[in-house]
Assembly symmetry: C2
Homo-oligomer: 606 residues x 2
């Protein structure tokens, strides 16, 4: 079977002609009733052929759309006759005349649906083997097959459209930032390894054997140095690299819209960030985002939504009920640091199986189980109801506004776990119950993040954003006395429950930077070795500065409605970080390694 189509394809190659002096006049998404009577030249792929009433019809496809093309023996007998070789995905150029489709044959789903082009002459530009999957949006091929033949996958209208939207979004960003005085400045890819947060990708140096470059996790240090360099406003659509085990929505390389500004405070950076997003959503998908964006403090987000990137497209908030039930007979409540409830309006119809699934789900976030109460007409149906006194029931009813038909979920324990478990449960139930309007775009700022977070395992503070984030001006002195209390000058932009951007005002004073390293338990020597050049730079007249970085891939997912990050990247990697098309990574010649002064470690077999 395979053989046969290859044979036919080879046989048909004799019909291939060079382009010669043929020049395209229109794309396949352009011709309408306005163009009837015009002589046109179109080029593209044969999407679909059907023979009907002695005529041959081809849907000719290019990046932009489809045009119906007709080969008629009355128009050009030879052209019609050779058109019999045409098969799916053959490449052709046609000259023809635009005419209206016959009465009743118009297709209102297509821009070009009112017309067809009757062929006066044509050239076969290339043949094609039978493709391993059909070039159409409703597609059942496995993702691995699609990735191996990515050049065919990208021909599908939806993926082609994603690439077009990505381009338009990037252009919109660049225009906006250019108009606002930002310079796009390219920072190096071969940089210094400063393991901090994620794992670096390393690049062995041949000239300096035994030494390594690292691919940048972000241009953070370079953009701050550009501010010290007086560049004032910098941006870059920067590729970033993190060698982490990949989750479903991660890629080893991803793109960041990276911005930095001098002589500004948090308000000015946020105004630019909002402006950028507003312009992008307006220009690319004609959605108006609010001006200004609503804001929420980190405390409020954690309190009501349990996560620092609240999805505000639906209500159903978390509520602290510690004071109401902490004296109950339910043992778990008595000892808990925090007890929160998630009341679900009209959720009392959930089956036992659904509740079991949700219980499994919250375990991902460290929960041991999931307490629940169904509010029925005559009773509270619940494994824990018996532990609750009348007063506690009344307290819950009032606090949570409970009504017959609701279900309430509870989580008790350490605050981190309670918030994560219920916050994510909220999202899951919101999705399950169809509470989310997927056409809505809800954007907001989350502000006043803590500067540091306590790492209980390592018994030390980590920087919540990164170690260059400035403390809130009112909290600078706390850095030395009570670091855990310090708020930061950091802000995240959240859209539909995704953190699409985040930034901060940076430390521009070398003494404060040293205090910060001290609070993070980074010794003077270590700080010097890793970030000496930054500490130096801060001593030579660093201006106040701050910035923001957006995840471009995530923004494009929201703009296109794509479900997978792999659908918005031209040549993505699998979760094993491989490219199925080129088969990267691959083994390399020993001479290449020898030149680099490295060798493979023997595999230890255990």
């Amino acid at each position: 079977m395979e053989e046969t189509t290859v044979d036919i394809q080879l046989e048909h190659q004799k019909y291939i002609q060079p382009l010669g002096d043929w020049v395209r006049t229109h794309s396949c998404q352009e011709l309408t009733a306005q163009n009837v009577g015009e002589e046109v030249v179109l080029m593209g792929w044969a999407q679909f052929r059907r023979d009907h009433g002695g005529l041959i019809f081809i849907d000719l496809r290019d990046r932009n759309g489809l045009t119906q093309v007709v080969f008629s023996p009355d128009e050009n007998a030879e052209a019609h006759s050779t058109a019999h070789i045409l098969r799916t995905e053959y490449v052709l150029a046609i000259k023809g005349r635009v005419r209206p489709r016959p009465e009743g044959m118009a297709n209102s789903n297509l821009v070009t649906g009112e017309i067809e082009v009757v062929v006066t002459d044509w050239k076969l530009l290339n043949t094609s083997r039978t493709t391993p999957f059909a070039i159409e949006d409703r597609l059942e091929a496995t993702e691995n097959l699609r990735l191996k033949y990515r050049y065919l996958d990208l021909r599908r209208p939806r993926l082609a459209q994603n690439m077009i939207i990505r381009h338009r979004a990037a252009q919109s960003v660049r225009r906006f930032l250019d108009e606002n005085g930002f310079l796009e400045i390219e920072t190096p890819f071969l940089t210094k390894s400063t393991p901090e947060g994620a794992r670096d990708f390393l690049v062995p140096s041949r000239v300096n054997q035994g030494q390594f470059y690292a691919l940048p996790q972000s241009p953070q240090l370079f953009k701050q140095l550009l501010m010290v360099a007086g560049m004032d406003r910098y941006f870059q659509l920067a590729r970033c690299f993190r060698d982490e085990d990949l989750r479903a929505d991660r890629q080893p390389e991803f793109t960041q819209i990276d911005c930095e500004m001098s002589f500004v405070d948090q308000e000015q950076v946020m105004a630019v960030g909002e402006g950028l997003a507003r312009k992008m959503f307006k220009e690319v998908i004609d959605k108006e985002l609010p001006q200004p964006f609503p804001r929420m403090t980190w405390d409020e987000a954690m309190d009501k939504y349990g996560v620092d990137k609240p999805d505000t497209r639906f209500e159903m908030l978390l509520t602290d009920v510690s004071d109401v039930v902490k004296d109950s007979e339910f043992r778990l409540f008595a000892t808990a640091e925090l007890i929160k409830a998630l009341p679900v309006k009209g959720g009392a119809g959930m089956s036992r199986k659904e509740i079991d699934n949700l219980t499994e789900f919250v375990k991902i976030y460290g929960a041991k189980g999931l307490a629940w109460i169904k509010i029925k007409e005559n009773e509270w149906q619940s494994p824990i109801a018996k532990f609750l006194s009348e007063k506690e029931r009344a307290g819950l009813t009032e606090r949570l506004g409970l009504e017959v038909g609701d279900i309430v979920f509870f989580q008790a324990g350490p605050a981190d776990m309670v918030n994560a478990a219920l916050g994510n449960l909220r999202l899951r139930i919101g999705e399950n119950m169809g509470l989310i309007d997927h056409k809505q775009i809800n954007a907001l700022w989350v502000t006043d993040f803590p500067l540091l977070e306590w790492d209980a395992e390592e018994k030390r503070f980590n920087a919540l954003h990164h170690p260059f984030t400035a403390p809130h001006p009112e909290d600078v002195e706390l850095l030395k006395t009570d670091p855990g209390k310090v708020r930061s000058n950091a802000y995240d932009m959240v859209i539909n429950g995704y953190e699409v951007g985040g930034g901060s005002i940076r430390i521009h004073n070398s003494e404060v930077q040293k205090d910060m390293f001290k609070a993070l338990n980074i010794g003077e020597e270590e700080a010097r070795e890793k970030f000496g050049f930054l500490l130096d730079a801060l001593e030579f007249g660093a201006p106040p500065h701050g910035g923001i970085a957006f995840g471009l891939d995530r923004l494009i997912m929201i703009l296109t409605g794509a479900k997978s990050i792999r659908d918005v990247i031209a040549f993505p990697k699998t979760q094993r970080a491989t490219c199925l098309m080129t088969e990267a990574p691959s083994t390399v010649a020993n001479t290449q390694l020898r030149e680099l002064g490295i060798k493979l470690r023997e595999k230890t077999t255990k």
Copy 2:
């Protein structure tokens, strides 16, 4: 001394204030007589301070320029008094009133030279240690010191300007290509190693131990795959990587304006390439490039200029004189494959020492020596004149249009050497004699390159551009019979003697691509292993396509007049491929290497 300035700087830190609600109203390059009387807020660096007549003058500098700022005790006594702490490169914000400079004090060299701003209030935003070199264009610091303190070097107006021009050029390119239907599509950095031409930078894979990614030498294969994918018109400002020993004007990472188009021939690609360059030169430095560009075949370029990137800003052409002198008594001429002359008008005054220098110079290109003749009033002064008959002298005089006062240089031997030696000699003499108008921008196309070049050492053909370049349509059949004769569908854009761009129509037929690999002596298995995915792709309906890539760094050098590529890149590497600021590359922790499954090779001491 060092101690003292650090002490003062630390002492002065107590004056530092936060920005608060101060917002800049203007840049330091904006205020003119039009603004007199306005209240403004400026921020920047103290470029220079002088105290005069009880007043303190500061040249306040930002990315864009300078504004003179005056602290006067009459305006605000306290502000004036604290201003005494101000030192070079301190960062400050001032509120003030624009006023004309006093009679006779205007500085016509500055945009802001007619005005000054008298300070009503100010804030110290940061102090600075004494910089290791002065922030000014006439600079005598070593390049290594400048690279170590790159964030100070970039404050110099010339370098800041280079970054601004680079940004504007990149924006101009993107707008032009966007308007012409190109999509900017990002291709991967973690790709497959296909050693071909230059050496790859490798990235060890942690997830797939023993395997390596390569950083792209160019997105060549991906852009062709994007054409197979129907993307129609692609571009990218793409970082490219080559692990080569660095010459003065090379960097291990550099930026390419990378374009590819479907359904076009050479003329259409060249039209886009010209349009892009014309728009860039017009928009960025207001220079008009010709429409269309002049063209020269590769044969003509080699014949007249000896190089494939002729500098046409001056005449003084190479001339083949083989037929005139090949029978002379000069032994070297008798056996030479090619004899060429370079007549230099009015060059007879060159000293023996100058000629000796030029003789040394041509040896770089493989020449053994340099024959010359000075045309004097009464004689031909020359070591070789005695070997030339009257007829040969008459022949040379006529062929070369020799006149008294000229000098002629000769080179005889293999064509490659003769052309390289005389072609580069021409450039050297043109520069020495001031024949080059450095304000001129001369752009042209060189076309009809040979497809293959013979590698005498390896006794095989190499691709002159790359193995995907299409043969000239008229020469396709020669590929199997006489590959050395095949012209290619390739073209270079040359400006002022630099190859700023190059491209070709690509092979879009898998059979022709296989013939090409055969001509290059790349076996079927090797071709399959390295480029199997491309060969596959060509069988699934690849459209005719071609493209062009420009060296952005080189273009910016021409636009800015920079002499070094390091002056147009924000954070360049040295010729040892190191970054003196961050000290990359560096050693890394053994645990990092262990995770990657590699180790350092023991150094073999010989």
